[in-house]
Symmetry: C3
Subunit: 341 residues, 3 copies
C-alpha cells in the first residue's frame, strides 16, 4: 500500500506584543504537510513500513526548518521530510524504526494540549519555553523531532499499557571540534510510557537533548485526557531544565483544558501557567488563557477560530510570535480553514 | 479527488546579447512543474479544495525561486510550492482561497501573450520590464505571484463576466525596522475583471506592489483574444509605474499577435513594443519580434521551436537572458519538447 | 502511466579513521529516493516519457546535493530532483532525452561494483578518488550526474550491443568571467558501449568533465559481470586523469568481486586496488577489502550488513567517511534495512 496524504491549513492571525502583526499563517489547527507512506506485509506477522512527511508553510508554499545533525537549523525553509522520514519493521516484538522522527516527550506535549501545539493556543509556548529559545535566543533543534534516531515501540497488546523510546545519535567526531562541535552534541534520549482505558489516557515522558556547546536540556512531562460524554478534559505537568550562560534555569509548567464536542462543532478552553526560576534572578512567570471554536464541514475540512492572551509578571517575556518587553502582555486571534487529504 | 500532475518541458536555446550562450532551459513552452491538487464536495453546493504546485528547473532538477514575505528572493532554487499553495472554499458566493497564488495582473499578462510568458517569445520581458528589475537591477517579488494572499473569485454565472481580486499581506511589524523592512513592504493589491463571449475574451487588470524600501510599483494591463476559425488574435496594452533612485519611470507597452492552428500544428507571431520614460533622461525603447511553431504529438506532448529578436533604441537594454549594452540588439532561438502528465 | 516510487534505506554505521564515528546513514544498500515517472504511447512506435527522481538523506529527511551549472554544489541538502530530471522521446531510432541524468561512465562504475557504489563497500571511494576530491579537497560535480545534458540511447535490438552518449552544456558566457567561470566550465562529454549475452555483460565507458577553473578530469572504465549458476563475478578496470595545482595525477584502479545468491540470501566479496601516481611525488596506494550479507524479506524489503577495510601505503589517505592521516588505515561496518516502494 502507498498512501499520499497531507494537510493545507491557513488562518488569518492578528498578534499583539511590542508592536502588532497581521499575517496569514500556516497550521492554525494542524500543521500543513505533504506525505507519502506505505506498509508491506512480509508474512509471519512481520510488516515493513516507510513514512516520509514534509512540513509546509502553506502561506508561501515553502517547507519548514529542519536540522543538520540536530545542532544547526537549516537556513531558509525549503521542503524536506522534516516532520518524519523513517523506515521500520514491525512484528509481535513491537516496532523498530529509524530516521527522523518525533521525540517521545514532544509527543506528550502535543497529545495532552487542547490545541495540539498548533496556532495561537499552543501551550508549548509556555511549557517548552526553554527548548524553543525564549531565554537563550536560540532554540534546541531536538525540541520536537530528532534526526539520526532509532525508535523502539512496545507491542500493542499489553493490557492498555503502551510506550516507546528513542536514541538519536550525535554523529560528531573529534574532527568536528574545529567547527565548534563536541562529541555528543545534538544527541537525544527519550522515553514515553502510557496507559489507556476507561475513558482515560495518560502518559509520562522524559527527554534529554545533549548540547555540549550551549547547554544540555532535560524535559519531564506528565499528561492525560479523560473523556466523559461530550466533554474531554486535558491536564499537563512539565519541567524543563537547562543552564544558559552559567545560570541554572528551571521551567515548571501546568495546564488544564477542556474540549466540548457538539456534533460537528467543538468548543475549547485552556489555561497554562509557567514559571522559569533562575539562580540569582527574578523568576519569569506567565499565565496563558485560550479559547477556540471548530466547525467541521466534513471529517477532512474545518473552519476554526481561536483567541489567546498571555499575562506576564514583571520579568516575563512570553509571547505569541511578536516579542514583548518584560512585563508586557501578549494576545492573538486567528480565523482559518483546514483541509486534509 | 486527489490529482498528481505536472509538466516537464526542456529546450535547447541559443541567446545572443553582449556575448552569447547555448543552454538547456526549462519551460520553453510551459513552465515545468509538479503538483498535487484535490477537491472535496461538502454538500449544499459547497466544496473545499487545495492546490500545491512546485515550479521545476527541469534542466537541473531543482526548483524555482520563491520569496520570504514577498520582499527577499529565497537563495538557491530548491523545490517549494512556489507556483501555488492554496486552500479554498467555493460555493454559490464564488470562491475564497488563501495562500500563495498568481497575482491578477500577472494572469492578464500571461493569458493575452501568444507565448504564455514562456520561452524566448515571452512578451513580459518588455511589458513587465520594471517589475523584473531591468532598470533597478532587482526584481519585484510580487511580479507574478504573491505569498500571504487572500483571493476572492466571482461566481461563474454572471452572463459572461468574470473576475477576482487579491490582497497579499506585508506581515512586517515595527520590530522588522532594524532589518530594513518598513510596514507594508511586500504587500500587494490586485484586481482583474473580464468578459467572455462571441469568440472574444478580454480583461482589465490592475496590481500594486508595495515596496517601502525601494519603490512602489503599479501595473495596469488590458488584454484580449478573438478567435475566428483557425486563427486566434491577441492584443495587449499595459503601463508600469515606479520610482527608482528618485527618478520616475513609466513603461508603456503594447503587443499584437496571432496563433494559426492547423490540426496538430500551431504557428505563432507576435510584435511587442515598449517605451520606458524616465524624468530627465532619454527613454529606453525596444521592439520585439517573435515567431513560433508547435507540433502536438498528443494532447500532452509537443515538439516546438521559436525565434525572437529585440531591437533596442540607443538607450535600450532589453534582453533575452544575456545582458546587452545600451543600443545593442538581442536574439534568441529555441527547439524543445514539452510533456504534461 | 504515472508511477510514484522510492526507496528508504537506513543503516547504523561505525566508521574508523583518524577518530571514529557512529552514525545513522542513508543508502547503505540503495540510495534513498522519491520519484515520479511516466510514459505515454504516441502511436507509430513513438513514446514520450518523463522521470523526476529526488535523492533523500533518509536519516534527516533532507535531500542530497545538486549542482548549479555543474560547477558549484548547492549549499545545504534540500530536496531537488538531483538523481534524475528528464523528458524524452523514444522510437525505433532509440531514445533522446534531456535534463539532469547519470553520466555514462558513472553508470559503468555502479553497474560493475558488487555494492552498487552504496555503503561502506562502495568501490568508487578508490576508483573515483580524484573525481570525489580526495586530493583536490573539492569534488567534481559531474562525477555521477550532469545537469543541462542531452542523452542519446541506441535502440534495443542490436544483437546484444547497447550504448548511449551524453553531452552536458557548460552554459557559461563571457559575462560569467568576473564570477570566476570560464567558457566550457562544467561541461561534460561521455559515452558507454556494451555487449550482453551468454551470461556475460560488459561495457567500456569514457567521460570527460571540463573544469577550466580547476582541472579537466577524464575517466575511462571497463567493467563486466559473468553469471554462473548461483554465482555472479564482477570485474573493473579504470583510469582517472587530472591536473591539480600543476601536478599531473593518474589514478589506476582495478576491482574483483563475487556475489553468491542462496535463495533469499546473498553473500558478497570485493577487493579493490587503487594507485594515484603524481609527478614528482610518492604514489598514493590503497587496497580495500569488503564483505556483505543481504537477507531479502521480500523483493522490496531487505536486511543487510557489510564490513570494509582500507589499507593505505605511507602516502595513502583513502578513507570511508572519517578522514585519515597519510598511511593510516580505515574501516567501516554497517547493519541496515532497505524498503522500496
Amino acid at each position: 500500500s502507498l498512501t499520499l496524504f497531507g494537510v493545507v491549513d491557513l488562518s488569518a492571525q492578528h498578534i499583539r506584543g511590542d508592536g502588532h502583526l497581521t499575517r496569514l499563517e500556516s497550521g492554525g489547527l494542524n500543521g500543513s504537510r505533504l506525505g507519502f507512506k506505505g506498509q508491506e506485509d512480509l508474512g509471519g506477522g512481520l510488516a515493513a513500513s516507510f513514512h516520509l512527511e514534509a512540513g509546509l508553510s502553506a502561506d508561501t508554499g515553502r517547507g519548514r526548518p529542519n536540522s543538520i545533525g540536530n545542532v544547526i537549523e537549516t537556513p531558509g525553509d525549503f521542503i524536506s521530510f522534516n516532520r518524519r522520514s523513517t523506515v521500520g519493521l514491525m512484528g509481535r516484538f513491537g516496532e523498530v524504526r529509524a530516521g527522523r522522527d518525533y521525540t517521545p516527550v514532544a509527543d506528550n506535549h502535543t497529545d495532552f494540549d487542547v490545541f495540539g501545539n498548533s496556532g495561537v493556543g499552543d501551550s508549548s509556548l509556555l511549557t517548552q519555553a526553554l527548548a524553543i529559545g525564549l531565554v537563550a535566543g536560540r532554540g534546541v533543534r531536538t525540541d520536537v523531532r530528532a534526526s539520526n534516531a532509532v525508535v523502539y515501540v512496545l507491542p500493542a497488546d499489553l493490557g492498555g499499557f503502551w510506550g516507546y523510546g528513542m536514541v538519536a545519535l550525535s554523529e560528531k567526531t573529534r574532527d568536528d571540534e574545529p567547527a565548534g562541535f563536541l562529541r555528543g552534541d545534538g544527541g537525544h534520549r527519550g522515553i514515553r510510557l502510557g496507559w489507556e482505558g476507561a475513558g482515560l489516557n495518560m502518559a509520562l515522558a522524559y527527554g534529554k537533548s545533549i548540547l555540549s556547546f550551549q547547554q544540555d536540556l532535560s524535559n519531564i512531562h506528565f499528561g492525560g485526557t479523560y473523556t466523559w460524554n461530550d466533554l474531554q478534559f486535558f491536564g499537563q505537568l512539565s519541567r524543563e531544565r537547562t543552564t544558559i550562560a552559567e545560570v541554572r534555569h528551571t521551567n515548571d509548567a501546568a495546564a488544564l483544558g477542556v474540549v466540548w464536542t457538539l456534533g460537528v462543532q467543538a468548543i475549547k478552553f485552556q489555561v497554562v501557567n509557567s514559571r522559569i526560576k533562575r539562580t540569582g534572578m527574578e523568576s519569569m512567570r506567565a499565565t496563558m488563557y485560550s479559547a477556540g471554536y471548530d466547525y467541521n464541514l466534513s471529517k477532512r475540512t474545518a473552519l476554526y477560530g481561536a483567541v489567546s492572551y498571555i499575562r506576564n509578571n514583571a520579568a516575563g517575556t512570553f509571547d505569541l510570535g511578536v516579542p514583548v518587553m518584560p512585563g508586557q502582555n501578549a494576545s492573538g486571534v486567528q480565523v482559518g480553514m483546514r483541509h486534509a487529504f
